[in-house]
Each structure stands twice: as structure tokens, then as C-alpha cells.
């Protein structure tokens, strides 16, 4: 223990005062100084250990395994979808709108980019309208009104070997990052 050195507080009786007086004082100084340096080492070590412990405790909030529903599903054949229409049949189960336009088919996330409410498709106004804070999106997913900061996300959409559509929600494409150009973001038919 570094504390042991703190006991050197009583000046030792000098044998020959003239010669030893100064050195004793010096060594005492060094002792005190080194004691403090040891003490600060101790404190830094203590703070680091406690800090490290609590950081590890934060990790406790992030489990290694998550039990969540499957994120991929089969969405029927391309011919099931009519050009220019928003299909809402997968909304309740998987949270996906499938939309077909002249260029192809894409899967739009039903999660509003503002705060995660589920917008409603208003067929008459031809827009998705979020009930929470009034964000509006065009059928492409582009935001045009309300507080939503960016367009809706699109999911990976590809064809399976048997010609069915696979929607994979684990891979997202964001328009503002230019990811909608990705071949998997739009199924060309």
C-alpha cells in the first residue's frame, strides 16, 4: 500500500545536523511527492475500474439474442398488382405497402419517418397521411407535407425462383442516400 509512506512525517533525528539536515528534508519531499503520485494512480485506477464496470452494466441493456418476428415474406405474383394502385393487403401483417407503377413494383415501409406512426393511404387524395403529426407522402414515398424529414423507406424486393415476390424487410433503401437506384429496391417487370 502506498499509504505506508505517509507515516514518514516525523523527521528522523539527524546524526550530524549540518550534513544531514538538508538531505532529510529533500527525501521527505520526495516521499511526499511520490506518495501523492501513487495516490493519484490509485484514484485514476479506481475511477477507471468503476467507470468500466458501469459501462459494462450499460451493455446489460443490449441482449445478444433478439426474439423478433420473421422479416421476410412471400407477397404473391407480380400480376396480382395493378399498375398505379397502392396495395394495402400486407399492411396489417407485415407493415408493407406494395405499389406498382409503370417502372415496376416496390415495397414501401409503413413506418412514418417522423416518429414511427402508421400513415393511412387516402385513395381519394392520392397520398399517405400520417395521423400523428400530419406528415403526407406521395405514392412513391416522397414526403411533401408535414414534419416528416425524409421519404418513406423502401424494402428489398426480388423475385423467387418460382416467380413469387420476396419482400425482405431487413434491408432498407433510403431515397435521400440515393439508394432507391439500387436494383433490389425496385422490381422491374
Amino acid at each position: 500500500m502506498p499509504d505506508g509512506k505517509s507515516t514518514v512525517s516525523k523527521p528522523p533525528v539527524p546524526k550530524s545536523p549540518a550534513a544531514l539536515g538538508k538531505t532529510t528534508k529533500d527525501s521527505e519531499d520526495i516521499n511526499r511527492r511520490s506518495f501523492f503520485s501513487w495516490l493519484s494512480f490509485g484514484w485514476i485506477g479506481f475511477v477507471a475500474a468503476t467507470g468500466g464496470f458501469f459501462t459494462m452494466m450499460l451493455r446489460f441493456f443490449f441482449p445478444n439474442v433478439l426474439f423478433e418476428p420473421v422479416q421476410t415474406f412471400l407477397a404473391g405474383y407480380p400480376d396480382d398488382y395493378i399498375i398505379g394502385e397502392v396495395d394495402t393487403k400486407w399492411k396489417d401483417k407485415y407493415g408493407v405497402w406494395i405499389i406498382r407503377n409503370d417502372q415496376g413494383i416496390y415495397a414501401l415501409s409503413t413506418v412514418c419517418t417522423h416518429l414511427g406512426c402508421t400513415p393511412n393511404w387516402l385513395a381519394s387524395a392520392k397520398k399517405f397521411k400520417c395521423p400523428c403529426h400530419g406528415s403526407g407522402f406521395k405514392s412513391t414515398g416522397i414526403n411533401f407535407e408535414g414534419p416528416a424529414p425524409r421519404p418513406l423507406e423502401r424494402y428489398r424486393i426480388v423475385l423467387a425462383d418460382d416467380g413469387q415476390i420476396i419482400v425482405d424487410k431487413t434491408k432498407k433503401f433510403q431515397q435521400e442516400k440515393g439508394q432507391w437506384e439500387d436494383p433490389e429496391a425496385l422490381l422491374k417487370v
Binding site: 399492411k91 406512426c117 397521411k129 395521423p131 400523428c132 400530419g134 411533401f144 414534419p147
Partner: protein, 372 residues
């Protein structure tokens, strides 16, 4: 009577409501001599008399009773979770009056050279906790318990449909005490409205005793000698908090559109609001060039405006309008104070920018989730 409802609906339009409140406010809670003069001239100090509160209470009760005859108003007010807000309106009005009434009385006493009403001669004027305080407490507790019991028996707690993660209710509202925040979310990005501004409210409240260094008038109600502090606090509390809660509860309907209190909540009410960013105004409307590729060039105007607002405005004010205050508070206190105040002011500023020019963001960098 129909026209009365029309008038109320029109006044409730946020632009009119908010503007008139902001204009009237400093005359009701005058922060300076000039306002104080007009406050007296307009007779607004009579608001804090006994007569005024009786009239106000009767007026509010009459309005509620009248409103309950209206289907749309009734539907909002009688929704179980909205009941506390009706109570809150009465309580806030009453307690604001009660404090101001006592404050004005004390102000008069002080002006006449007397001691405030709460003054006592220590130690002769003291009372014993047992039984004086203990009985007051006991009676309060009994009244509160009875009140809660009656409320609980009379009004079942609401329970809606089972949770459905794919179907948001329309409108989807936060608990009422967070509706002020939800209102801010319309004008700000979530990181501002949901994280930064609430934290600043907390920090600002905690910093208050360190900024308000006026040592006078602690321990009794008073207004005159701390009118700036009180009118600022009242603005934050009554206008930016309580009023926004009422707006969020009563005036926000389906699709988060505005509805008057007597207006039918039409889910198909169309409000064509196409909001645009500052960069789009500059480059597309004014310069006709289209948005530049580089984010920095695109957003430079917004960044300059924000930097100017937060970095140049405070020292400018310190040299001019707020010179006295700067001298009184010193650099550190002044900086904290002014940053809190001008951050709070971004809310009304952004509200007006949204209403007038449909501005969405001053800085908009969705690539990095940074929108302001």
C-alpha cells in the same frame, strides 16, 4: 347562436389565437415600465381583483355548459383522458389569479411602507405544528381522497382497442401533459422537439435561481419588484406549455389538422400544406437554378442564419437592448440566460415561418438526420 360558434371557431385558428395571446400577454403581465403604464391605463390590473375571478369562473362555467350542448365540443371534453385538462384550465386560472391577487395586495402594502402580508415577528408569531398544521394537512388529505374516490367511481378509466402495431389511431395523441411537446414536433425535427428542447426546459428551470439574482421578495407573493422574471416564467408556463396543451387537446383533430372547438372532425378535411425548405426557396424560387449537389453549398444560407441567430444576436443584444441586464448578470450568467431565451423563442419564430411562408426547415440535411 350559430354565429357565436363560428366566431369561436375562427378565433381558435392558431394564427389568430397565438398572435392575439402574444400581443395581449405583456399587457397582462407587464415586464417593463411602459407596459406597466398601459396595464394600468387599460384597467387590466382589475383582473386580479375578487370580482374578476368570480366573473371569470362564471364565464368559463357558462362556456362549458353552453359548449356541452354542442356534439363536437362534448365529444372532446367528455373523453375520459381529457377530463383532467378541463380541470386544469379552471385550476390554472384560479391559482394564477390567487397568486397575482396576493402579489398585488403585497405590492400595495410595500408601496405604503408596510410589511408584506406574510411577515411575522420571529419568534413570537409562530404557531405549533401540532395541532395547527397537522389539522390543515389532515383536512386536505381527506378532501383529496374524497375527491379522487368520487372521480374514480364516477368515471371509468379509459381502455381502447387492443394494441395493433399496424394501425395508428387517428389522431394519435400523447398523454395530455406531453401534448405541448407533440405540438412542438409539428414545427421541429424530433431531435430538437423531443430531446434538445425538453432537456433545455429542465436545465433552464434548474438554472433559474442562478440567473434570477434579484435577492428581493423571497417568501411572499409579489409582482412589481420581480416583474421581468414573473412575466417570462408566465409566458413559458401559460403560453408555451398550458396553452399548447389545450391546443393539442381541443384543436387538433384527425390527420393532426386544426379544428375549431365546435367544428366537426372531418377526416377528409383537406389542408394542402406543401412545406418547403429554405434551400428550396433560395435556389429554386429565387435563383431558379435547382438545388446544388454539395450539401454545404445547398445549406449555407440556413447555416449562416442559424449561426447569426445564436452567435451574433446575443452579443449584439448585450451591447444594445439588454445592456443593463448584461451588466447585472456578467458574462456567464448572461450567456446561459440569453441562449435559453433565444432557443425558447425559436418555437414561436418557427411557428410563424410555417404559417406565413410554409417553411419547413431552415437547415435541412436529411442525409445526416440534421434538420433545424
Amino acid at each position: 347562436m350559430g354565429s357565436f360558434k363560428e366566431i369561436v371557431n375562427t378565433i381558435s385558428n392558431p394564427t389568430i389565437l397565438f398572435t392575439s395571446v402574444v400581443i395581449i400577454f405583456p399587457f397582462v403581465f407587464p415586464p417593463s415600465d411602459w407596459f406597466e403604464k398601459w396595464h394600468r391605463k387599460l384597467g387590466l390590473h382589475h383582473l386580479w381583483s375578487k370580482k374578476a375571478i368570480i366573473i371569470a369562473m362564471i364565464g368559463m362555467i357558462a362556456f362549458f355548459i353552453y359548449g356541452l350542448g354542442d356534439y363536437n365540443f362534448q365529444k372532446i371534453v367528455l373523453k375520459p383522458d381529457n377530463v383532467p385538462i378541463s380541470g386544469l384550465i379552471f385550476l390554472v386560472v384560479f391559482f394564477t389569479w390567487l397568486s397575482m391577487y396576493q402579489a398585488y395586495k403585497n405590492d400595495e402594502r410595500l408601496e405604503a411602507g408596510q410589511k408584506p402580508d406574510e411577515f411575522y415577528e420571529a419568534p413570537n408569531d409562530k404557531v405549533l405544528v401540532w395541532p395547527d398544521l397537522v389539522y390543515v394537512e389532515l383536512i386536505s388529505l381527506i378532501i383529496m381522497s374524497a375527491f379522487l374516490l368520487v372521480w374514480s367511481i364516477g368515471l371509468p378509466a379509459p381502455i381502447e382497442e387492443p394494441a395493433n402495431p399496424t394501425e395508428s389511431p387517428n389522431p394519435a395523441k400523447a398523454p395530455w401533459y406531453f401534448l405541448g411537446l407533440q405540438e412542438m414536433l409539428v414545427y421541429f425535427d424530433p431531435w430538437m422537439a423531443g430531446v434538445v428542447l425538453p432537456s433545455l426546459i429542465i436545465v433552464g428551470l434548474m438554472a433559474m435561481p442562478f440567473i434570477d439574482r434579484n435577492p428581493e421578495n423571497s417568501g411572499f407573493y409579489s409582482f412589481k419588484r420581480r416583474r421581468l422574471a414573473i412575466s417570462l416564467f408566465m409566458f413559458g408556463w401559460l403560453v408555451l406549455w398550458v396553452m399548447l396543451i389545450i391546443v393539442g387537446t381541443v384543436l387538433r383533430g384527425p390527420n393532426w389538422n386544426f379544428f375549431g372547438p365546435f367544428e366537426y372532425w372531418d377526416i377528409h378535411k383537406l389542408e394542402a400544406l406543401t412545406n418547403i425548405n429554405l434551400s428550396e426557396i433560395v435556389y429554386i424560387k429565387w435563383l431558379n437554378t435547382g438545388l446544388p449537389e454539395s450539401i454545404l453549398i445547398r445549406e449555407i444560407w440556413g447555416i449562416l442564419i442559424i449561426m447569426g441567430y445564436f452567435l451574433i444576436l446575443p452579443p449584439l443584444l448585450a451591447k444594445t437592448a439588454l445592456k443593463d441586464m448584461y451588466g447585472r448578470l456578467g458574462v456567464v450568467r448572461y450567456s446561459v440566460f440569453i441562449v435559453l431565451i433565444i432557443t425558447a423563442l425559436t418555437l414561436p419564430i418557427k411557428m410563424y415561418l410555417r404559417w406565413i411562408i410554409n417553411l419547413k426547415y431552415i437547415i435541412s440535411i436529411p442525409e445526416y438526420f440534421f434538420n433545424f
